[in-house]
Symmetry: C2
Subunit: 415 residues, 2 copies
C-alpha cells in the first residue's frame, strides 16, 4: 500500500519544531509492507493544505495528516478538510463527551475553546482521541482514505498504534511485501566500506538493495527487499544479511540489528550479569542519559558522577590533584583515574569516563576543541585513548558518548 504523509504547521516551516511524527509513522508502516512515498510539510494555510491533499492522492491510496488541530486560532485544518470532502462543521455530542472526559482526567475544567474541539465535519468518521482533546478524522474519497491526526507526537504515536494502523490494515489488503535488515558497522569510512563490499553489492538480486546510513563513527547498512511473496523476501534477506556479515570482520560489527549503541551495551552487560557506571566531564551526563533513556536500564546501570569541575573530579572521584595540575583535566592519567573512581564510588564492575574540550571555547594549540580522552574499564581491564572529533559542541558530545559506549561493548566482548 502506498502512503503519503502531510505534516501541517507554520511552526515547522520556521524551524521552531522538528517533525518526528512522519518518521514514527513510517517506522510502524514498514513492517506491514506499506511504503511512504513522500512527506509534505505545509503551512497552516487552506490553499497549501488543499494542494498537498490533491498531490498526495495523486500518488497514494492512503494519506495521513498530522497537526493543525489545536484549539487555538492558528489551526485551520478542520475547516479545510470540510471544504475538500464536503459536509459541514457540526458539534458531535460523543466527541464532546470524550473531550470532557480527557480534560477532567487531567484535573482541568472544560472551557469553550477546548469544547470547540468537538466541532467536526459531518463528512468524516471520528476516531476518539484517548490521550488528547483533538479528535481524529477518517475521510473516504474515491476508494482512498485520508486520516487526520493530532500533531502532538505522544498523541500521534499512541493513537496511530491503537486505532489508525489496525483500521488501515483491515480496510486495505497489502499486495507488496517490503522487508528490511540492518547491520551496524564501526571502524570504516563510508567509502572504504563501500569499496570493500562492492563486488558483493553488485551481485545483489533485483529485489534487494543496500543503503548506507552513515553517522559519525558508525555506519548503518540497511538491506531493503521488495517482492509480492512476503515469506520469500524475508528468507532471502536473512540469507543476504548473513552473506553481508561474512564480508566483514566481527571486530567491526557492532550489531546485526537496528539498535542504538546504548541498547547494545545494555544487552551485553545483562548477558554477562555485570553493572556499569559513568564518570563524565565533557559529555556532561549524556552517556548516563543515553543509557537510562532505555527501559530496564536499571538492571545494569547504577549511576554516574558528572564531574564538570576539577573539584568534583578530585573530591568525588578521587583523581589526584597533582595529576590534574601536571597533565591537565583532558589527559589519559586523569580519565583513567576517573574511570576507576566511578567503579569505586558507584560500586560496579564496569565504567566509562570522558574528559575533553567540547567547545566552542577552551581549546589550545596542544589540545584543540574536539580533543576528548575516553577510558573504559570492565572487570579489571582498562582501555583508554585520545580522540580528535570534528564539528561543533553538540557533535563532539554525541561522538564522545557513542565512542565511550562502543569501546565498552568491544571490551566486554573480549573478556
Amino acid at each position: 500500500m502506498q502512503v503519503s504523509i502531510i505534516v501541517i504547521g507554520d511552526e515547522l516551516l520556521i524551524g521552531q519544531v522538528t517533525d518526528t511524527n512522519s518518521g514514527d509513522i513510517a517506522r510502524r508502516l514498514a513492517p506491514c509492507g506499506w511504503k511512504v512515498n513522500d512527506v509534505q510539510v505545509v503551512a497552516d494555510d487552506a490553499e497549501a493544505i488543499l494542494d498537498s491533499i490533491d498531490r498526495a492522492f495523486s500518488k497514494s491510496d492512503v494519506v495521513l495528516t498530522t497537526g493543525g488541530l489545536g484549539p487555538t486560532k492558528d489551526d485551520i485544518t478542520k475547516g479545510t478538510l470540510c471544504r475538500y470532502f464536503g459536509g459541514e462543521l457540526r458539534e458531535d455530542p460523543e466527541v464532546l463527551a470524550n473531550v470532557r472526559h480527557v480534560v477532567e482526567a487531567r484535573g482541568l475544567k472544560l472551557n469553550d475553546l477546548t469544547a470547540a474541539q468537538a466541532i467536526v465535519p459531518t463528512s468524516c468518521q471520528v476516531i476518539q482521541n484517548q490521550v488528547g482533546t483533538a479528535p481524529l478524522m477518517w475521510f473516504e474519497h474515491d476508494g482512498k482514505v485520508l486520516v487526520s491526526m493530532p500533531g502532538v507526537p505522544f498523541e500521534t504515536r499512541h493513537m496511530f498504534d491503537a486505532e489508525v494502523l489496525p483500521r488501515l490494515l483491515e480496510r486495505f489488503h497489502s499486495d507488496t511485501a517490503i522487508a528490511h535488515r540492518t547491520l551496524i558497522v564501526t571502524g570504516y569510512s563510508e567509502s572504504a566500506l563501500a569499496e570493500k563490499i562492492a563486488e558483493w553489492e553488485d551481485s545483489l538480486p533485483a529485489y534487494a538493495h543496500l543503503a548506507y546510513l552513515p553517522k559519525p563513527g558508525i555506519i548503518r547498512l540497511r538491506l531493503d527487499g521488495i517482492h509480492t511473496d512476503g515469506e520469500f523476501i524475508n528468507a532471502e534477506l536473512d540469507r543476504l544479511h548473513r552473506e553481508l556479515m561474512a564480508q566483514l570482520t566481527p571486530a567491526n560489527i557492532l550489531a546485526a540489528e537496528d539498535l542504538t549503541p546504548a541498547e547494545i551495551l545494555i544487552r551485553e552487560l545483562r548477558m554477562r550479569k555485570l553493572t556499569a557506571a559513568t564518570a563524565e566531564s565533557c559529555t556532561g551526563g549524556n552517556i548516563a542519559h543515553s543509557i537510562t533513556a532505555i527501559a530496564g536500564a536499571s538492571d545494569v546501570f547504577c549511576g554516574s558522577v558528572v564531574s564538570y569541575s576539577n573539584d568534583v573530579k578530585s573530591n568525588v572521584l578521587g583523581v589526584s590533584e597533582t595529576d590534574l595540575a601536571r597533565y591537565g583535566a583532558v589527559s589519559i592519567p586523569v580519565v583513567e583515574q576517573m574511570v576507576s573512581g566511578a567503579i569505586r564510588t558507584i560500586g560496579t564492575q564496569c565504567a566509562m569516563a570522558t574528559s575533553g574540550i567540547a567547545g566552542p571555547t577552551g581549546g589550545s594549540p596542544e589540545k584543540p576543541v574536539g580533543t576528548v580522552c575516553v577510558a573504559v574499564s570492565a572487570c579489571g581491564r582498562t582501555r583508554s585513548a585520545t580522540y580528535h572529533f570534528p564539528g561543533n559542541r553538540d557533535r563532539v558530545i554525541r561522538r564522545a558518548t557513542d565512542t565511550a559506549i562502543i569501546n565498552l561493548i568491544y571490551l566486554l566482548r573480549e573478556l
Copy 2:
C-alpha cells in the same frame, strides 16, 4: 523571498533518520525575512526528485535540496539534477583537489568511490564543501535558483551559513520583511491561556498573528509579523510583545525570548553568580546533559550525581537508609535529602533533584508510572513537590527534567 526545501533520501521515508536540516535552514532564513513555503521529503528516485523540483519551482524562487549526495550507490541525485538542468556529468579537477584535501585532513586515503564525488554536472556552479566530500551545486533556471547541499546535518549547517546564505542574499533582494517574537509561558493549559488573552488576540492588526506552540508544561507563544517595511514591523512586534506580557502575571512568564529552560537557568545563575548541581534518579543524567549541552555551562554548572541505584543514593549522596526503606526512593524526604546531598557533594549553592518512576514498569497503585518527586534548592531555600506526568518513559523523563529546571528558575527569582 519564497523558498521551497526538498529533502532527499529513502532513509527518511522509512523513519530511520529524522530530518533536522529543513528546520535548521528555516531558522536561519527567518531573520532575513525569507519564507519557507513547504518542505518535501522524497525518495532516492529520479522521477520523485524531478517531480518535486517542478513543484518547488512552481511555488518558490529558491529551491534548496539536502541529501542524496553520498559516495555510495543509493544516491542518484547528481544524475537527476543533470537531467533537469542539462549539461553532462564530468570530473572537475578543483573539486577533486578539494575532496582529496578534506579526506587527507581526516588522515584517510582517497579511494575511487570518494574521488567520484568530483564528478559534477557541467550546468552547475560548484561551491566547495569545506567540511565534507560532497560538493554543493548551484543551478540557475529562468531567474530561479536551486542549490543542492549534502545531507549530513553538520555539513549542511556549516556550508549553509558559510556560503549558501550569503550568496543567496547577494543574488536576491528581499521585498517582504518577516519578524517573530516569542514568549515562554508556564502554568496554563493551551486553551486556558487562549481564553485569557482572547480579547487582546482578536484586536491584533492584520499584519500580526499569534501562534501557540504547546509542549508539556510549557507554551511558547510566537508573534509573527509580515510587512513591506522591516523597521515598522519590528517596532510593532516589540510593542505587541510588551502588550502580551502585560496580559499575564510575571510568575507565569518563563522568558520573553525563544530560549530553552536550560538556557534561561544558566542566565539566571550567571546573573546571580551562583553555581548549581543535580542529583538525578529517574531523569538519569538528562538534566545535567540539557544544561551542559549549552556552551559556557561550566561557568555555573559544577556536576551531578546520577543515583540510579539506592546504594548510590545513600553512599554518595548521604540519603538516610532508614528513610529509603520507610518512604521509598520516590518520596519527598528522599528527594529533599538528594538535593542537599548534591549541594554538599558537588559543592554548589543550588541544586535540583529528581526521583520517580519513568516506566514502563515499576509502578504501583500508590505510586503509578509517571510519579516523580522533584526538589530544588537555592541558597538555603528548598522547595519540593510530587508530580504525576502522563505519557511514556521518554516523555516522563523530559517532563521531569523541564520541571526541575523551571522550578529552580522561579525559586532563584524569588531570592
